[in-house]
Amino acid sequence: MFYREAGDFKTSYAADGQTFPISFDKARYFFVLFIAFIIIPLVINDYWEKSILIPFLVWSIAALGLNILTGYCGQVSLGTGGFMAVGAYGSYKLMTAFPDINIFFHIVAAGGITAAVGIFFGLPSLRIKGFYLAVATLAAQFFLVWLFNKVSWFYNYSASGQITAPTRTVFGIEVTGPTAEPWATYLFCLVFVFALAWIARNLTRGRMGREWMAIRDMDIAAEIIGVNPLKAKLTAFAVSSFFIGIAGALYFTVWFGAVEPTEAFGIIQSFRVLFMIIIGGLGSIFGCFAGAAFIVLLPVLLKNIFVGMLGWPTDLAAHLEFVILGGLIVFFLIVEPHGLAQLWRVAKEKLRLWPFPH
């Protein structure tokens, strides 16, 4: 009834090409922003911050990054955990080396460092693809984690081999460290998520995104019509790693505060992000958020059901979580290979015609 183009006249190209062409969509978008920026910071508490909202935001950024590479450019990467580690250690080194500079710039710079590392490990993609590339990115995963474990310069020679985020402020408000308020850390992450999602959305619908998609759909044909594969693949690796690096930096500084590479950035994290984009939808910005929300909420939900309501031991719930997660992945790939984003799209199509479907 409300959700349709009728009566919504476009009089310029800019208006025609906008992200949300339907006014109801636009209103909904601003409504979500209003809730996220104004309402949630007022009601947030420690539990929601640490176990739901911050994980959701951080994983959303990582999923955006991987989706750019895998969903838009078609290059499968299993090195997400390693690239997140680069972001985390990059931000740590910058934070401790230049304590006077605002942490915001450290995190962006950590993203930049990760982008450079990503380009380096993306070089093989010019010659190989598919599983072969997946194995090449595995090399990045294992090598980087090993590097951060063995070279003590990266963790400033601390005895435990851990890195711990010092307390830092933005506009005089603490955003890292044990005493940071939940609303401050939440808003800090949210700003990154908002900016990066905006960048991702606009990159993917512009020239660069179309080049990526051409490479994804058929690389040789793309090359013949004049897409430079070197440029397209390496920019995809760079942008993707930039996002993942920022996710890793936030993961370390804001969410955990102290990490140890083998546990925090293991291959399991690479798979987690891959699952997010499969369940959410490959090649969709909305899908990144949907997938991240799904993967973050599923364990919380299962834990509440099995441990909280049924009183089962936690290890049993953890095993069941694996079974359910694996089953869901297969289920999604069989039933809806385009993920939650496709369900959303179908729902919107239906809404457009509602209540007269014919």
Partner: protein
């Protein structure tokens, strides 16, 4: 002379570790050739097979933990011990059932999907089976003993010590593993060369559609191939399990098999063997000669970096088919 002996020892141990990698890689190659699926779950299949074997031998009650959580009944063991050979045969049956279930509920629905989708489906399958295996048999470290001798090969140790003053260390288990792997590979080769089913397998590997058109049932072939891969996984699981116990890290050998495949080529059985040997020897030698200089534990990544370097010069692997691309 002692230096040379140490070097030889490192190489021999590397070769034997390589045989283990080759065993896992073999399972990958079989499935990849027959169905074009890169089966990430191969390592977890080895874990599941080994855990099932231990459970059967010890008479463990499946899902004991879950049963006690739901009903409050405490059950652990049936209180019997099954003969190891019988248990291995039973586990083989379980792997066959698993192959049927996988074909029926997953592969059938994913025919004609892109390879990368199939790959991700097997990652999902790997997670599922990992959780399932833990639910069924428990996640603790389990000792597996099917009667393969363990420990140092004493005659060799004594002979080299008497002759050169340095006793070489070779484990009996590795020797047996190598022998069993060789038997397995030879019998697989004979099977695929001289039996009707084997010929059908090769036909499917060559061309799916042509095989279909001469009346070979793809679904039956897939069940057979996954069963064989399951049995290879069982053998690999027994070997690794006897060596270092049955535990989660067993499933990580699947990841080690990836560089092996890159080196050997995804479609070549001899390639899997040679690739496994190269990786095994290479990583032991690298750890022995360069490892101490850069902090050790290089085995974690050496194989992948070697594969990466390899990919740049010969993407199809040593024995793989040449990659031809058409628009």
């Amino acid at each position: 002379m002692v230096d040379f002996l140490i070097f030889l020892e490192v190489v021999l141990n590397g070769l034997m570790a390589g045989v283990m990698y080759a065993l896992v890689a073999l399972g990958f190659v079989l499935i990849f050739k027959a169905s074009g699926i890169f089966n990430y779950a191969q390592g977890v299949m080895a874990l599941f097979a080994a855990a099932t074997l231990v459970g059967l031998i010890n008479g463990q009650v499946p899902f004991a933990h879950m049963i006690s959580a739901i009903t409050g009944v405490k059950v652990h063991h049936f209180g019997w011990h099954i003969n190891a050979f019988l248990a291995i045969a039973l586990t083989g049956l379980v792997m066959f059932a698993l192959a049927v279930v996988i074909e029926r509920y997953i592969l059938k629905h994913l025919v004609n999907q892109e390879p990368i989708i199939l790959f991700m489906a097997t990652i999902g399958l790997a997670f599922f089976m990992e959780g399932f295996s833990d639910l069924m048999w428990g996640s603790e470290l389990k000792a597996l003993d099917v009667g393969i001798p363990k420990g140092i090969v004493e005659p060799l140790d004594e002979a080299t010590f008497n002759a050169f003053g340095y006793g070489m260390y070779i484990d009996w288990l590795d020797v047996y593993a190598t022998a069993i792997a060789i038997i397995l590979v030879v019998s697989l080769t004979l099977f695929s060369q001289y039996t009707k089913t084997g010929r059908a397998l090769r036909a499917v590997a060559d061309d799916h559609q042509a095989a279909l058109s001469v009346g070979i049932s793809l679904r039956r072939i897939w069940v057979i191939v996954w069963t064989i891969a399951g049995i290879v996984a069982l053998v690999a699981g027994i070997m690794w399990g006897s060596k270092s116990g049955v535990q989660f890290s067993l499933s990580l050998i699947a990841l080690k098999a990836l560089p092996v495949l890159i080196l050997g080529g995804f479609t070549s059985i001899p390639g899997a063997i040679v690739g496994g040997l190269i990786i095994g020897v290479g990583e032991k030698l690298f750890e022995y000669s360069i490892g101490p200089m850069i902090g050790g534990a290089t085995e974690n990544w050496f194989a992948y970096v070697l594969a990466l370097a390899f990919l740049i010069f010969r993407p199809q692997g040593l024995f793989g088919d040449k990659i031809i691309e058409r628009v």
